[in-house]
């Protein structure tokens, strides 16, 4: 049986200025209960893509489907099943928290009052009579998150959800609220700059660079299939020998060492060095996600598409 993806981007292109596309031919799906981290540098098109998924922006080319529906043609049917927290969340500044939650309770028939209570207590917002404009940035973000998750959406879209939250609050939210929803089958698409959050949530990583999908892999796959080898420069004077090794993606000089990224496990890379270059004891380790991110999109020495 073929199940419809919860979210489907098909060849999405979008620009705000002629000749300078923000998104070019972006395609990927999010399946039910899948957690997808959308990564990319500032200006890489993450927020634009999320706005397109929410029906707030129109793609210039391509098609987006949420639960098999167009978010611009069937906005109500789509948004009933989505929870959304924007990067620059705009809540009505003069409303009180309780009024805003009452409005959401009124709109969403599936509103989970016990989850609302639980989250209000966790964020220490219960009994708070302040207006949104009087809240701190982090508190306002917490209110937005409560509004986004308490109707138990089928798809949760979070654009930089942890922005403005302190590390403890961020961890608490990500590890409890989001995973609580995900256990119930909610798909989650979130963009973030916090690699720790991405690694904690697991799932799949989609990396956007200059409006294109540069990487789309399972996080575990990334962890297992890529490694970094650190070779003293005196041991391998000819860098081309390292570059010629099978699976070598990139070699970079860092002070008196070569840092070589390999598309294989650390053990396989160690074996390659020993067998091909006669170098035993080369330090090969899994590559941290943050390091991978920097290698992939971090400037002109970045790696090619994987």
């Amino acid at each position: 049986m073929i199940t419809t993806p919860v979210l489907e981007f098909r060849n999405i292109s979008r620009s705000f200025k002629k000749g300078a596309p923000v998104l070019s031919n972006v395609s990927f799906n999010v399946a039910q209960a899948e957690v997808v981290a959308l990564l990319g540098r500032n200006g890489s098109g993450k927020t634009t893509l999320i706005h397109i998924a929410m029906g707030m922006l129109f793609p210039h080319e391509g098609d987006v489907r949420v639960f098999g529906l167009s978010p611009t043609e069937r906005p109500v049917d789509v948004k009933k099943r989505i929870g959304y927290v924007a990067e620059d969340q705009v809540l009505p500044p003069n409303s009180k928290i309780q009024e805003l939650l009452a409005f959401h309770r009124y709109l969403f028939k599936t509103w989970d009052a016990s989850l609302e209570k639980q989250l209000l207590e966790r964020f220490e917002l219960d009994g708070n009579t302040w207006r949104i404009s009087q809240l701190s940035k982090g508190q306002a973000r917490q209110v937005a998150l409560i509004c986004a998750v308490c109707h138990r959406p089928d798809l949760l879209i979070l654009d930089e959800p942890a922005g403005g939250l302190d590390p403890a609050a961020r961890r608490e939210f990500l590890e409890t609220s989001i995973q609580l929803l995900n256990r119930n089958g909610t798909a989650i698409l979130f963009s973030s700059h916090h690699m720790g959050d991405v690694e904690r949530l697991g799932g799949r990583v989609v990396l956007l660079d200059e409006g294109r999908v540069k990487l789309d892999r399972q996080l575990d796959d990334l962890r297992e299939k890529f490694c970094i080898a650190i070779i003293p420069r005196y041991a391998a004077r000819d860098v081309t020998a390292i570059e010629r090794l099978a699976g070598c993606v990139q070699v970079k000089a860092v002070v008196d060492q070569w840092h070589a990224v390999f598309k294989c496990s650390p053990d396989e890379a160690s074996l390659l060095f020993a067998s091909e270059l006669g170098l035993a004891n080369v330090q090969c380790t899994n590559i941290p996600l943050e390091e991978m991110f920097i290698k992939l999109v971090g400037g002109k020495h970045s790696m090619g598409a994987l």
């Binding site: 929410m54 707030m56 948004k79």
Partner: protein, 524 residues
Amino acid sequence: MRRDLSLRVSAPVVVLGLLAVVTSVKAPNLVLVAGLPYCFFVWSWMPRRGGAFDAALPIRGRELFAARYLSSLTLMLIPFIVAIVAGVISNERGFSAGVTLEYMAIAALATLVPYALRPGELNEPPLWLTIAFWIALAALSAAILRFLDPTVGFVLLAGSTILVGRELWLGLPDWLRLTGTKVSVDRQASSPLTRLRDVSTAMVPESWKPVLRSTFSPRFLIFYGVVFFSAGIGSWLLMLALATMSISSSTRYSMRWLSAIPLSNRARLLLSLVPTVFTLSVCTVAGRIIGPQFGVDRDLSFRAPMSSIGPSNYFNRSKVPLEYWSRSKGTVAPAIVAPWGESSAADTITVLGMTLFDPYTSGSDNSSRFVDWQVARATSAIYGYPMSVAQEKHGDHPEPLMDREPRMRILNAAAVLALMLLIVWSTEFGMWNRFGRIWKYFGAALLAIPVAAMFWVDHIYQNRRAELLVPIAKKLLWHASNALPANLVVVAIAAFLPVLAVYSLLEWQFAQSELAARRPKPQA
């Protein structure tokens, strides 16, 4: 100072200023009424003090104050300066440069007041405090305007401005500071505007309060007041157009949080129309009903074109608004001949190659009998029954037939409603997903052109100071009214079909609009 942020918002303000300026040129004496919404625009758009960004820059408090106050003031004074120039050039009777100078001084002082409140802080003072000071200033200014000689009043007001400015300048610390968050919270919670919001939304169910608070802003009260006042004095179309444009843009922005909520496009559109089309219509109708109760009367020549300069009809004592003029078959208007043989050359105006003439003209050399005859004819055509010169001059004027007849009321209401919806549509048009940034300005221009045209065309046509589009629209509606069947239901259906068409266009446009933020600039 040249690089100050405040200068970046000058361009759109100047565009709005031009609209106000045109109105001022048309009637220099109405400068205060015309300039009021413009001044509000300047005040609300100009960055006045600053934020954390300015606080972090090595700019002294005095420099920041001088840059922002002087740039605001320059824009604020545009309509007044033009009004003075226009008044002097046109040599209009009753125009007083002294009084306009007093208004200028009031504007300078009103611009200064927000800076004088809590001067050491970068944050804006609370709105209610500014408004309270403005009300006090308005009361004081009204007394000065009423009881003092213009020269004395100007000296007093300008002197006060200089004095307040000097004290402020000397009292400003080297570095302005940001107000602490806690202090702001307490201040905001106790502000009268916050309490006013609470009282005004007390009857609304809790779940709908966020929507109501997003759709209505206390700032709109100024527009509602201006539209009500304008409708009361019978000259309201420009104010209505400006208020619709401003409130519509502001509401659309403040309601953007609803775009992530499962509300249909239609529901969101209708919600956004409540503070604009609905409330402004109520204000207009209320003004039109209440205005005449307070003795606001309109004589025969209200909004009539100025008589063309010439010995025969310069002293036209029976001139009428343009919608009652007739079209001449040739370029020369026929002479108006009374039954007893006395005649007068008709006042004429050429519009788009057509010669229109006032069939009720009476020249300075005509007899009183002729003037009586013309006034009786004019009042019959306009009010539905003849009036003598004395009655017309001193008596109460009923509403003109063009406004009074039930069929015309329906048609007028539909026309105004369609115009307001078109204005809202034009703001949506600029947000069409197919358009880039440049089209946003095109959308604004699309709106500005017809509004400006309403008041500019008269200058193109020999500076006769008469609106052209409104009379043409009225005349067309009058013809339509006569052409339609007598049944009011049929008239209502015919009148509201175009409204429905414009609404459908607006609804379609609304569904195609994009309000999300533009692409952020990539960081290096």
